[in-house]
């Protein structure tokens, strides 16, 4: 964009295309897209990055990230990422998975990529639901949460309790970096109504950068990012953010679950 002869970058990142995203209003996928693109630029790795597009809300990421893309089958992103990385260890390979993709149909691929210590970076967006397919129960769906396949609320006697993927990976020796952060802004009471704090986002930004650094150090990096899905949760956007900051975060506490290289301290 040029204005009065002055180059105005208007925040455009080279790692992003000009295409507007398809993400719903209030969804944090767009935020994550921005954080990842920013990390790619900070680390100057765009020209040697391949993104593996998984199945779910990030399936159209090839329209947004200005880098090479590979489209994996549902759940298999870590396997295809491992295939790419094995042949081209010089490339940075990453994927954004959803909770249905990574924690249900692709749990084996995720666990084995971690177990082998495959040097790839995986971002898991946990919004407690299958977003792209229209709001069905995910492994991460909370007890009692209403989805299109749990119309009377999730019955944990029948379907088990929510799966904590970060906790699961914390027990895998091959994983170098496992962290749970949140993409959801927090609401604070201000003198003239609510204000929103981005403390979580700043931490998510650091986590995203760390996840790429860990890959360059030869390690498997996994960052789970709590997110909302106001459309499928059938909540107004701000209610969804409140729900994420209370119920979702209670079930899935933020924190560093593994940090073999100590990148969090640096």
């Amino acid at each position: 964009m040029s204005e009065a002869g002055m180059e105005v970058k208007a925040g455009r990142l080279e790692a992003l295309t000009d295409a507007p995203t398809h993400y719903c209003a209030g969804c944090e996928h767009g935020t994550l897209t921005r954080l990842i693109a920013s990390a790619i630029e900070t680390l100057n790795i765009r020209e040697r990055t391949v993104m593996v597009d998984s199945v779910g809300c990030s399936v159209l990421a090839y329209n947004y990230f200005n880098c090479d893309h590979f489209g994996a089958a549902h759940g298999r992103a870590p396997a295809s990422a491992a295939g790419l990385k094995g042949m081209r260890p010089d490339l940075t390979v990453f994927t954004i998975q959803g909770d249905g993709d990574a924690a249900a149909i692709g749990l084996l691929e995720l666990l084995y990529a971690a177990k082998r210590g495959t040097p790839i970076t995986i971002f898991l967006v946990n919004n407690g639901i299958y977003g792209m397919t229209g709001g069905q129960m995910a492994p991460t769906t909370l007890e009692g949460q209403v989805t299109t396949t749990t119309p009377h609320g999730r019955d944990v006697k029948l379907t088990g309790t929510p799966l904590d993927v970060s906790k699961l990976l914390a027990g895998i020796d091959g994983a170098s970096y496992v962290k749970r952060a949140s993409l959801v802004v927090t609401e604070l009471a201000g003198p003239r109504g609510s204000v929103y704090a981005i403390k979580n986002l700043m931490d998510a930004k650091r986590s995203v950068e760390n996840a790429f650094k860990v890959q360059s150090m030869g390690g498997f990096a996994f960052v789970e990012l709590l997110s909302t899905c106001s459309i499928n949760w059938k909540m107004p956007i701000l209610d969804a953010k409140r729900f994420a900051n209370t119920q979702l975060m209670k079930q899935f506490p933020l924190g560093v679950y593994r940090d073999v290289f100590g990148v969090e301290k640096k």
Binding site: E47, T49, V50, D68, A72, A79, G83, L84, G86, M87
Partner: protein, 361 residues
Amino acid sequence: MSSPAKEQRYLKGNEALAYGALDAGLNAYYAYPITPSSEIPETLAKEFETGKYPGYKVFLQAASELEAISMVLGAAATGSRVMTATSSPGFSLKQEGISYGAGMELPFLVVDICRAGPGLGNLGPEQGDYFQATKGGGHGNYRLIVLAPNSVQEMATFPKLAFDLAFRYRNPVLILGDAFTGQLKEGVEFPQLEPARFDVSSWALTGARDRPPHLLVSLELDYAKHYKHVAAMYEKYKRIEEAEVRFEEFETGDAEVVIVAFGIVARIARGAVNKLRARGVKVGLLRPITLWPFPSTALKKLAADGKRFLVVELNTGQMLEDVRLAVGNDVAVDFLGRWGGLLPSEADIEGMVNRLEVTAA
């Protein structure tokens, strides 16, 4: 040009296939063990340790067939020579990735050492995966180029042919063997040929440096664009059908009956033809080497010459349908099938031909 150096060895079919793949410049192998194909990953694991093949960068045993084939896709996306082998139940599982790979037009090699099915079936030889191999196998509109070796020698030489075809057409290639060909031990020669080089720079994922990004995805939400993509794939398939049909004819010239058989069955049928010919029975053999593209034109020509056909397969009649499609309804097509791990003997085939009342000279 001097004739290429040849190395002679005595190997199992599966072992020969592994060495053939290495000679063809294999870069990566993704394994999942399943009988009767396991000598392929075992041989390739052993050779990986030796470091004798500098281009051979990855041997990895996956946690499932699904993981293995998805690793194949990722590795193939870099333009590397990548392969996986399995046997029937594993071949079913691999269909997911094969469909994605066909949609992305990735070159890679899959080997199915076919055993008896359905389900776990047993470990004996069968050709019951013919439909799955030649009609697509996974979801959507696509074809694999399918090669059917009938000897340890062909197990050794087909991987090079398979990689050449895969890269020439940017399409997955399948070698469809069977438990018998995989386990059979024979003398084999390795022609030391240089692997052909193919330019992958227009599509391989290597990082978008000084060029626009490369996208290898099977998703296309714009229906008109997806229509065009699949139509272009079908144009490619037509070119393959025109250029790459391979088959072998034996004693078909004056034959009244032409046996159609592939793989190990063609070996048995050839023995039967020799015995019948010794008694003056006018019988010949057509062996499809590519099961897709199928030698329909050659069969049509034989049918036009007034010949009748006997299809012999290790299944309940799968290639039989393609033979009938090729020759039409007015030509007699008989069938001899063995399945469940059993093979027909030469005498079985001779008996069947005799029952067809072919003229004896």
